[in-house]
């Protein structure tokens, strides 16, 4: 159990490339934090700095009130699960799980009890005498987790642990990680580029881009009130649709459609009268039946939903839109569907930040 504080953390490599800018966060005891972002955004670097595998250029890292900024990895009492499992191929599952405790010269009987308990939690009891090569990817990742569990560390760090697994196994292992967190009540930091993992696992998500934190919040906060255009486009599948609109009186005017604003929206955009703003609409917030005519391009049936890709004006890429309609639809290319936007997000055209009530 641990409380972790990251205070003004920077990472600048020897070649002067800055990977992380002014990272600030407080991780509460027992929290599940997911760092999400595209490749190269600095999330793994941040995790490696926490683990002690990378030096921290500036800032402080505090674990349970103790400054561990310069502490070596072995003294941090953290366990890390890697994407490639990092298991010893010549050792059995049992030996792999017991290895770190054996190195610490713990009582063999105690090691045995801990390994059996961890194996029981991870449903690995029948695999203990097998070598990693005899296990599936999901089982190997469970062994890697078991190796962390036996140590009973203050903090669990996961670096894209599900990236090597196929879709089905990824889903089941994700559920296992969630159950594990609930069962252990441990503080966990998890890095992924997969927003589904982030949304399903996290108590709080840290969304990163280009080495900077874009937003920290609960999954619902990131989905419902994205702080800027990056978060809005990154969280949500399919991604949010964006249009440039002019705020004019009660109306939002785009070259392709005109929408009347509600009194709340009008109040929200009162300072933007006569200015352009970016309107964001999630595909699931576009509904059939309305006043805005949309020309269907392609129709993808997913069973429960149908993804309709279309446009408001032929040949104009800015008029493209993706809609997620409920149920099964059979639109043909060229069909015209009238739609309405039942929830809209507004972003400042200049800064890209979400427009919030003053």
């Amino acid at each position: 159990m641990a409380k972790l504080t990251l205070s003004h953390i920077d990472k600048i490599y020897d070649n002067k490339v800055q990977a992380v800018y002014d990272f600030n966060m407080e991780v509460e005891d027992g929290e599940f934090i997911v760092l999400v972002g595209p490749s190269g955004c600095g999330k793994s670097t941040t995790l490696r700095m926490i683990a002690g595998l990378e030096d921290i250029t500036n800032g402080k890292l505090i674990l349970d009130g103790q400054d561990i900024t310069a502490a070596p990895p072995k003294d941090r009492d953290m366990a890390m699960v890697f994407q490639n499992y990092a298991l010893y191929g010549h050792m059995t599952v049992y030996e792999n799980m017991a290895f770190s405790l054996t190195l610490r010269k713990e009582d063999p009987n105690l090691i045995h009890k801990k390994v059996l308990a961890a194996a029981d939690i991870l449903d690995l009891s029948s695999q203990l005498n097998k070598k990693p090569s005899q296990l599936s990817g999901g089982q190997r990742q469970r062994v890697a987790m078991g190796r962390s569990i036996v140590r009973n560390p203050k903090l669990f760090l996961f670096d894209e642990p599900l990236s090597n697994l196929d879709a089905k196994l990824r889903s089941s292992t994700r559920r296992e990680i969630l159950l594990l967190h609930k069962r252990l009540g441990a503080t966990m930091l998890y890095v992924t580029h997969d927003q589904t993992e982030a949304l399903t696992l996290a108590d709080r998500i840290v969304c990163m881009s280009m080495g900077r934190v874009q937003q920290i919040g609960t999954p619902l906060e990131l989905y419902d009130t994205p702080a800027n255009l990056f978060v809005a486009s990154f969280i949500g599948l399919p991604p949010m649709n964006f249009f440039t609109v002019l705020v004019s009186g009660d109306e939002l005017i785009s070259p392709f459609f005109t929408i009347y604003m509600s009194p709340e929206q009008k109040q929200l955009l009162s300072e933007y009268q006569g200015k352009h703003v970016t309107l964001g609409v999630r595909p699931e917030n576009v509904e059939e039946g309305g006043v805005v005519p949309l020309v269907v391009g392609t129709n993808e049936n997913l069973g429960m939903n149908t993804l309709v890709h279309g446009h408001f004006a032929e040949g104009n890429p800015e008029s493209r839109i993706t809609c997620k309609f409920k149920g099964w639809c059979d639109y043909k290319k060229g069909d015209v569907v009238k739609v309405t936007f039942n929830k809209m997000h507004f972003f400042d055209k200049e800064t890209g930040n979400r427009i919030v009530k003053a």
């Binding site: 030996e95 063999p108 009987n109 045995h112 390994v115 203990l128």
Partner: protein, 172 residues
């Protein structure tokens, strides 16, 4: 029985159970390593026994048998090491036989060579001098003891594990 005594007894029983239970997943490294040690001491014996300044005394069928036996010994004991590592009791029984043969070997080459004399550069010399003889004897004895110890430990552990597995089978 006092609470403390009862607690200690319970702890002892639990620890004994765990100690045996560990064998389900841990290799019998003690037996295996002792067998390897037997190979090491046998090799030391093998390289210590021959001398080149004693004329043709060693030139007999015995040298061929000795070389072949040493090669076989190393191979068999390596197999014993691997077998006993995985709690295979038969390998431990073989280890007893091979270990006992090491003691028999004391009366073949070291003793024969120690008692023999030969002509070398016109002088009568003893084939194996006292210091070399003692060294050879020690290497062979240690090698034999290692093998027998490996076998005893192996048999003990195999039987304990077998009993434990039966008990566990009864529980589940």
């Amino acid at each position: 029985m006092s609470d403390e005594k009862f607690r200690l007894k319970l702890e002892f029983v639990e620890n004994s159970f765990v100690k045996v239970d560990r064998m389900r997943y841990e290799k019998n490294k003690t037996s295996s390593n002792l067998a390897i040690l037997a190979i090491v001491f046998n090799a030391l014996f093998f390289v210590s026994i021959y001398k080149s300044d004693v004329g043709t005394w060693y030139y007999s069928i015995l040298i061929g048998i000795s070389i072949v036996y040493n090669l076989l010994f190393m191979m068999i004991v390596f197999l014993i090491s691997e077998g006993s590592k995985n709690y295979k009791i038969n390998y431990s029984y073989i280890a007893i036989v091979v270990g006992a043969l090491q003691f028999v070997r004391l009366f073949i080459y070291p003793r024969l060579a120690h008692g023999a004399t030969t002509q070398s550069t016109g002088e009568v010399v003893q084939v194996m001098l006292g210091a070399q003889f003692v060294r050879c004897i020690i290497y062979l004895i240690v090698s034999g003891v290692c093998l027998i110890a490996s076998a005893i430990i192996g048999i003990k552990k195999c039987k304990a594990l077998e009993k434990h597995l039966k008990a566990i089978d009864g529980l589940v």
